[in-house]
């Protein structure tokens, strides 16, 4: 009797954790796109990404959750906050949007959501039979670097080239043009 109660309690515990993570993700995601203070939008985005990482932990995909936290929470959100510091005046609110644009955007989003959910509920997914592969770091690493039929060595290399290209592109774009720099400092360049 006690054991049954305990198992029910345990199931409810994981369920409650799932719903808490889902609520954290959706509520902070919604606040992130509606708040008029841009810094708060970045912080709400941070909590939304943490909620998604929690859902990955809940699903037992620890490696993906760790990558999510390292890349998104530790990398992209920090980058966004830096760019907010570089481009925004402190304490300035974002301008109010036209009400018509808001209404039509909400309508479009709601219609798309309703359409998607109707399709999802009508479709029944059949789970494939077979032994489940644990998403451990060993399995993921062995398959990612293998050159067999199921290996992902080629996409891995292509993504590394893409990251290199993006890095060089960032440097080239963000480099200051000499002409612009001189006019910004108020001393027009005599030689040009």
């Amino acid at each position: 009797m006690f054991f049954v109660q305990y198992s029910i309690f345990k199931m409810n515990g994981t369920t409650i954790i799932f719903y808490l993570l889902a609520a954290l993700t959706l509520v902070s995601g919604f606040l992130s796109v509606t708040t008029r203070q841009i810094f708060r939008a970045a912080i709400y985005l941070l909590f939304s990404l943490i909620g998604i990482a929690g859902i990955y932990f809940w699903l037992n995909y620890q490696f993906i959750a760790a990558v999510q936290i390292v890349v998104y929470v530790g990398g992209i959100v920090v980058l966004i906050i830096f760019s907010i510091f570089l481009t925004q005046q402190a304490g300035e609110l974002l301008p109010k949007q036209q009400i018509g644009r808001k209404i039509f955007a909400a309508l479009a989003a709601f219609c798309g959501f309703a359409l998607t959910m109707v399709q999802v509920w009508k479709h029944s997914f059949t789970k494939s039979t077979g032994d489940a592969v644990e998403a451990t770091v060993t399995n993921i690493g062995a398959q990612m670097l293998s050159v067999d039929d199921n290996g992902y060595a080629l996409p891995f290399e292509v993504v590394s080239v893409l990251l290199l290209a993006a890095m060089i592109g960032c440097i080239v774009i963000a480099l200051r043009d000499k002409k612009i720099m001189n006019t910004e400092q108020g001393t027009p360049n005599k030689e040009v």
Partner: protein, 104 residues
Amino acid sequence: MMQPGLYHLLFISAALFFIGVYGFLTRRNLITMLMSVELILNSVNLNFIAFNKYVWPQRLDGVFFTVFVIAIAAAEAAVAIAIIINLYRSHQSIDVENAEELKY
């Protein structure tokens, strides 16, 4: 309460996707539009992981797609922020309404 399963994850994923779409359509500041794009990409990742867990558990393809999407999202965010900072230098504003011309 129902035991959460595939449909719950798909609900979260679709809701997050359309929250991102709403933000992308209403926002006019480039940084907030970039945040909306990040939300959309995250909802796609969640979808891949959910299908990998509940529909096709004997392969790890969803995990690899998620890893590659995260890598490409990082590259995209870095390039976008470089462009935004460059735009701020030339226009003193990162509102899309003020960035109408391709080259000035």
